[in-house]
Amino acid sequence: MNPGVPVAYLQLTRYPRRLVIAVLGLAISALGILGQMGFEDSLFRSATRLFEELDADVVLVSPQYQFMVLPAPFSERRLYQSLSVPGVESFSSVRLGVAPFRNPVTRVNRTVYVVGVGRAGRVFVNPDWERKARALEAPDAVAFDRRSRPEFGPIGDLFRDGPVRTEIGQHAVRIVSVFDMGASFSADGTVLVNDDGFSRLFPRRRPGLVDLGLIHLRPGAEAARVVDALRSVLPGDVVVLTHEALNAREQAYWRGTTPAGFIFKTILIISLMVGAVSAYQILSSDLAENLPQYATLKALGYPDAYFLRLTFEKAWLLTSMAYPFGFLLALVVYASATWLTLVPLVMTSGRAIGVYVIMLTAASAAGLLATHRLRRADITELL
């Protein structure tokens, strides 16, 4: 039933002011959703970036372990014990801590995340990180993440002239290499040190305790089967996880336990509501003003489905008019946030399309609600 008249478009553009307000509302909604998703994704991705680069098939952590900045140590002996399990080829360890890092220019301290890299075996998948971690021979040698926040100082620039000297936890250190990881919501900056260096920076930590046990399996070994075997062999003072399970647990912490997850969900719901309400307002106003006209069309033989389709067309047109603005604004926000926080916010095509579909759905739902009155109306009362 297409009379060849673009009714939806003509009705929407009939009142430009009302249209602009609705488009603005939907654009803000798109911005809110895209911004929320960008920040959330960035938070969770950056929070697990270090863990994703760990070279491990199976990971051991303490039962008290919560998340990367609040680890709990366990005995390194469990790693040696793991070698008795069929399928386990080798292991390595990581120790984690935070300490004040002195900006070599301003002399102001800022907390840095310290990753103590075990000597026993491979630690990182990233070859550049692994090579630089292996090169840390002296206890005062550290590798610095040059994509850390600028408050740590212009380390990358200073490093061009040779090793940079500064202090971590009042211990003199030499930055002998730099690598690229990026700040996260949990760590403004990161340094790598070797086992001896970690013990030097954290003298109160008992030797023989590690925070992450990285277990490498023999080729062909089934991770799930080895995990089961490790659980049966090792005592309850360690938790055995696959690498994927550790990453999932880390993300789950951020999503479920911290206020960040709740805040992101709230922003998402509010943004969606702003969009749906904006769409509903213009669609229901249009319906209310045109009830006698639509009743006349019903008298002419138009079915309810026509009005539903007309309203959906308007909802989709509105969304399609508003979304590009919201999307461009979101790109600006992403770029600004990346520049300000050094936490990369990346727009993916999946997210761009997904949010568009979500907004189409929300606007359609608003349209469905708006047409309720017309569906219920007695047309003889309206004529």
Binding site: P3, V5, L10, Q11, P292, Q293, L300, G301
Partner: protein, 243 residues
């Protein structure tokens, strides 16, 4: 032209608040109404306000369900039809209401095109809309929006919308009530032409005596009963109406 009347009403009784299968204590608005309107015939239905004229019109137009009696449009019984079947019947009917109810975002031509329901290609529907508007003296107003049209022009656009698909039955509720003499004359002429050119049956509800001029027959509705105008039962009321 077929012998089947465009509209045949037999023994129609209608009570507001009546629900099928129940007995109602309310008095009926329409009582055993009989009326036949043949193709090409123009019938004027008059009567006092609240007599049930509009109700009868909506029953004939499949806009309201028939409770008792039989209403047939082009031989098709309306009683017991589903909403979709009623809609199909309405496709053969042209409605003209007291208010024009034009969509303000559309031009006069587009409003008329809306009546064609995708029955004809777009280009053809544009041509038909222009022709219908020209027939009502609005050839130069095809691209005008309703807010730039006078009240008379708007009503003529509404009439064009009702006539553009050459309906077999035209139901008009006070189509000239708010029109000046010139506009009323154009509308009545268009209705007369519809009857003559494609044999449309026209049932007009009106208080406007100007409309009587084009009527082949006049019927009068009072106290729920329909009588032929000119019959002894209707004379006092018609005389009063004419005054």
């Amino acid at each position: 032209m077929t012998d089947i009347p465009a509209l045949a009403i037999r023994g129609v009784t209608h009570t507001y608040g009546h629900h099928p299968g129940t007995t109602s204590s309310r008095s009926p608005l329409l009582r055993s109404v009989d009326l036949t309107v043949r193709r090409g015939e123009v019938v004027v239905l008059s009567g006092p306000s609240g007599a049930g004229k509009t109700t009868l019109l909506t029953l004939c137009g499949a806009l309201r369900s028939v409770q008792d009696g039989d209403v047939r449009v082009l031989g098709r019984a309306l009683r017991g039809l589903t909403a979709a079947q009623q809609r199909a019947v309405r496709g053969d009917i042209g409605f003209i209401f007291q208010s024009h109810h034009l969509i303000d975002a559309l031009t006069a031509g587009q409003n008329v095109m809306m009546a064609l329901l995708g029955r004809v290609p777009v280009a053809e529907s544009m041509r038909l809309a222009e022709t219908a508007l020209a027939g009502l003296g609005l050839a130069s107003r095809v691209d005008a929006r309703p807010d730039t049209l006078s009240g008379g022009e708007k009503q003529r656009v509404a009439v064009a919308r009702a006539l553009v698909r050459h309906p077999a039955l035209i139901l008009a509720d006070e189509p000239t009530a708010s029109l000046d003499a010139a506009s009323a004359g154009i509308v009545l002429e268009a209705l007369r032409i519809a009857g003559r050119r494609w044999g449309a049956a026209v049932l007009l509800v009106t208080h406007d005596v100007r409309v009587f001029e084009i009527a082949d027959r006049r019927v009068h509705l009072a106290d729920g009963v329909l009588v032929e105008a000119g019959s002894p039962a209707s004379r006092p009321r018609l005389r009063a109406l004419a005054r």
